[in-house]
Symmetry: C3
Subunit: 352 residues, 3 copies
C-alpha cells in the first residue's frame, strides 16, 4: 500500500484528501479548551464533535453551522432533528470506541455519513416505526466501518470519501427493505421502469425561488423552502465565500435543469439543485483552492452533476432505489481526479 | 505499480492477502512427499491440488475437507459432483499451463472459483445439456484469467480475491445466456422487477433446523439439508474452531433474517445463511486473527451480508441475474478494508 | 500516489499504459516539420492531431487512417462525418487549453473519446437537433475531464483508459436524456426488461459477409457494410498485420455468436463483431506484444467479449441504456491485468 494511505492512518496529515475540512475554526476550537469537571468537559467536547459532524455534510468543521443545520432539521419535523443528532452521535461514538484516528473524529469527519444514514432511514422507512429507529442505530455503527473502508480504498488516489459511505449503505438498505416484512410497512415495492419526463417545463418565478431554497434542504432529503433558508444561514455563518459558492452552484444546477428541459415540478422541489450545491462547494474552496479558474471548473461540475441526476435515478429505479447524493459523489471524483492533470487550473505543475 | 502487487508476482509472499489459506495442513502436505513413479506422483499431486481447490471455497487448503465437499456434491446429484471436480481440475490445470505462481496452484487457490463457475452453469443452464458442459470448460479457462486480473487489481489494497472472479463470470454468463439460443433452452427470460416480500414470516422449528443446514449447502447452490450436513462435517474435519465460527455465522444470518422479517420460505431453503457463513469464516480466523473482538466484528459482518442479500437480488433481478456470493464478497471487502483503521480490533497500531 | 501516476503527469513516459499508441508513424510525423507561416503550421499540426484522434479509436496514431475513417463517416451520412470531426477537434482543443501533457494531445489520445461521444449523441439523440449539437460540444469538453480522471485512476494498475471515458459519459447522457424534455424529442423512453433471444439463428452466407464488414462499422455505431469496408481500408493503410488481427478478431466474434446461437439479425448488422475487433487489436500488438501466444490470448478475449455483449445490454436495458463498447473495455481490462501473471504468455518473468 502506498504512502498516501499510511499518511491517512498515521494521523490525517493528508490535508489534500480532506481539504480544508480539517481546520477547526476559532469559535469551535476554543470550546475544547473550556474549563470544568472532566465529565462536563467530555460532554462538551463530544457535543462539539457531533455539531461539527452535522456541518461536515457541507464540508464545514463548524459547530455553529452544525447547530443551525440541526435547527433546520427540527423545523422540518422534530423526529428528523432527533434522528440527525442521534445518528451523528452514534457514528461519532462508534468511531471513538473503535479507535479511529482522533483528528478525524474531532473535526466531525466520522459524523456526517451517520447523520445522513439515520435521516435517510427516517424519511424512506418511516420515522415513527420502532424498526426504523433500531435500524438507524445499527446503520450508524455499520457506516463507520464503511467509512473506514472507503477512506482506505480511495486513499490510493488521494481522493476524499465524501458521502460515498452513506450512499453505499443507504442504497443497499432502501433497496433491500421491501424484501423484509418487519422493515417495510406499506406492502408495496418501489421498483419500476423509468419513464420519459412529462408535465410542463415552464417554471414560474415563485417556483424558481422556492426551488432554489429547497435545493439546500434536499441535501437532507427535505423539500421545504424554509428548511433550505435555515441551512443557507448556516453556510453564511461559516463564511460569505462558502455561501456564495453554494448559491452559485445551486443557481447553475437550476439553470442547467431548466435549459435541458427538466419538468418544472422537479425544479420547484429542489431535486435539481442539491447535487450542484455540493459539487460547487467541493471543487471551489474545499478540495481545490478557491480561484477564478476553479470556480468555473466547479460550476461546470455542478452542471454535469445536474445532468447526471436523472441517469442515476433511472439506473436505480428498476430495483427500487434512489439517486441520493450519488451524482455529487461521482461527479466530484471525476473532476477531482481530472484536476491534477490540468496545471493551468490549479496554477501548479502537478497537484501531488 | 506499488510493491504490494510486485510481491504478489514475485511468488505470493503476501501472506496477508490470502490469510491462512496458504498453510497446507499436515495430512495433505504429506501426500506431496509420497513415493511412486513420476507419473503416479504427478497424478497424486494434481488430485490433492484439486481436492484442496474444492475446500478453498471455504478458505481451507485441506484435501480431506475437499473430498467431503465432493461427496456432498455427489449426494446432491452425481452430475453436480462431476461438474465440481472437473471444473476445479480444468481451472487448476489452466493455471499450471499459464505458469501461474506455484504456491497459488498447490494450495488450491486456482481451483475454487472454477469449481463454483462449473457448478453454477450446471445448476442454472441445465447440467444435462452438452452446451452447458462445453461452456463450463471454457468458463473454467476464462475464470483463471479473471482470477489473475482480480488478484492484481485488489493487490493494490492488499485485499484477497475471494469468490469475486466467479461472481463476475457467473453473473455475466447467466445474464447473457437468454440472449443465446444454443445456451438457453427454456425460451423464457428471467428478467423481472423485484417484488416486496410476501408470505408468512413465522418459521417452524423444523424449518429452522433444515434452513440452518441448507445454509451450508447453498454455498454450492444446493438446497438439501443433508448436503449441508456433509459440508459441515468437512468443516469439522478441518478443525472445530472453523466449524464453530461457520455455525455461529450461519445462526447470526438466520437470526438477522428472522428479525428483519424475511419470508419463512427463504429461511427454510438456506438462502439467508450462506453469505453469513462465508463472511464469518473470512473475518474470524482467515484474513483477520481469531480473537474475541474479531469474532464480534465477523458476526456484525455476517448480519450485514444477510441484510445486503435482498438488495443484490433486487439490483440484478430486472436484468435476470442472481445474487450468488456477491453479498459475501462486498461485505468482506468493506469489513477487511475497514479493519485496518481499527487498532483496537486487531490489537495492532496498523495492519500494513 | 505511486510513481505510475506521477510518470503519467510528468510527461507521459508510461509507454506501457498506452502501448504502441504513442509512436507517431513516419508519414504523419513528417507533417509536423512542414514549413509555412506559424499560423498555417498550427492549423496543419492541429488537423493532423484531429485525424490521429479519429484513428486512435482503433489505437492508431496515424493521420491517413484517420482521414479514411472520416471518409467512412461521411459515407454513412455527412452529418456523422461533421460530428466526428468536430467532436475530435473540440476534445483535442479542450485538452490543449487545459494544459494536458503534450504527447497525449499530439498522438491523438485526447481526441478519440470525444469523437465517439459526439457521434453517439448524433446517432441516439438525433443529429439534426440543435440541442444535440450543443450537447455534443459540451460533452466533448466534459469527456476531456473524464479522460484525465480515468487516466489517473487506472494509472495505479498501469492500465490504459481505452474508450472508458466515452462509455461513462455516453451511458450517463443517453440514460438521462429521456428525463429532459429539450433533449428527448420522441416522448417515449427506451427502458424495458430484456427478453430472451428469438428469431432464426440460421445465417445466410451473404448476411455473414455483410455482418463481417458491418462489424467494423459498428465501432462507430454504423450498420452499413460499405462504411465497414472503408474502415477496414484505413486499418490496412496502417499496416497489414493490424488489418489481419482486426479481421481475425471480427471472425472469432461472428463465429462465437453463431456458435452460441445469437439471432441471425444480430450477426448480420455487425453487433456481434465490433467489440471482438477492438479486443483483438488491443491484446495483440498494441498493449501486449504481437506473438503467436498473445494472438491466441487475444482471440479468446474476442470470444469472451462477444459472449459478454448481451449481458451488458441486459444490465442497461431496464434503465434505457446501451452496451456501447463496455464489453470491449471490461474484457480488455481483465485480460490485460491478468496477462502480467502469465509469464509464458508474454515470454517474460513479469511485465512490470
Amino acid at each position: 500500500m502506498g504512502h498516501a494511505t499510511d499518511a491517512l492512518d498515521a494521523g490525517g496529515s493528508t490535508g489534500d484528501a480532506e481539504g480544508s475540512r480539517k481546520d477547526p475554526e476559532g469559535s469551535t476550537g476554543s470550546s475544547e479548551r473550556a474549563v470544568g469537571s472532566p465529565r462536563v468537559r467530555l460532554v462538551r467536547l463530544f457535543t462539539t464533535q457531533v455539531l461539527r459532524g452535522q456541518a461536515q455534510v457541507t464540508f464545514l468543521p463548524n459547530a455553529v453551522t452544525g447547530a443551525l443545520f440541526s435547527a433546520a432539521l427540527f423545523a422540518a419535523g422534530w423526529e428528523y432533528g432527533v434522528y440527525g443528532l442521534l445518528g451523528t452521535a452514534v457514528g461519532t461514538a462508534t468511531a471513538r470506541l473503535l479507535g479511529v484516528d482522533r483528528e478525524r473524529v474531532s473535526t466531525g469527519l466520522e459524523g456526517f455519513n451517520a447523520c445522513l444514514t439515520a435521516l435517510c432511514f427516517a424519511v424512506f422507512l418511516g420515522a415513527e416505526q420502532v424498526s426504523t429507529a433500531l435500524l438507524a442505530v445499527t446503520g450508524c455503527v455499520v457506516v463507520t466501518v464503511v467509512t473506514a473502508a472507503v477512506v482506505r480504498l480511495l486513499g490510493v488516489w488521494g481522493l476524499p470519501s465524501l458521502t460515498l459511505p452513506y450512499c453505499l449503505l443507504a442504497t443497499a438498505v432502501t433497496i433491500a427493505a421491501p424484501g423484509f416484512g418487519r422493515l417495510w410497512h406499506t406492502g408495496q415495492g418501489l421498483a419500476a421502469l423509468p419513464l420519459a419526463a412529462s408535465g410542463t417545463t415552464a417554471v414560474e418565478p415563485a417556483e424558481l425561488a422556492r426551488g432554489f431554497l429547497a435545493g439546500f434542504a434536499q441535501i437532507f432529503f427535505m423539500p421545504q423552502w424554509y428548511v433550505g433558508a435555515l441551512l443557507l444561514l448556516g453556510l453564511l455563518v461559516a463564511g460569505p465565500r462558502t455561501a456564495a459558492v453554494a448559491c452559485l452552484g445551486n443557481a447553475v444546477g437550476v439553470a442547467t435543469a431548466w435549459g435541458l428541459g427538466a419538468p418544472a415540478a422537479r425544479i420547484a422541489d429542489g431535486t435539481m439543485g442539491y447535487n450542484a450545491v455540493l459539487v460547487a462547494l467541493a471543487l471551489c474552496g474545499v478540495f481545490l483552492p478557491a480561484r477564478a479558474a476553479t470556480l468555473v471548473y466547479a460550476l461546470v461540475g455542478a452542471a454535469a452533476a445536474t445532468a447526471l441526476g436523472p441517469a442515476v435515478s433511472a439506473l436505480f429505479a428498476p430495483s427500487g432505489g434512489h439517486a441520493f447524493t450519488w451524482p455529487f459523489v461521482l461527479t466530484t471524483f471525476v473532476f477531482l481526479a481530472g484536476a491534477k492533470s490540468f496545471p493551468r487550473l490549479t496554477g501548479s505543475g502537478d497537484g501531488d
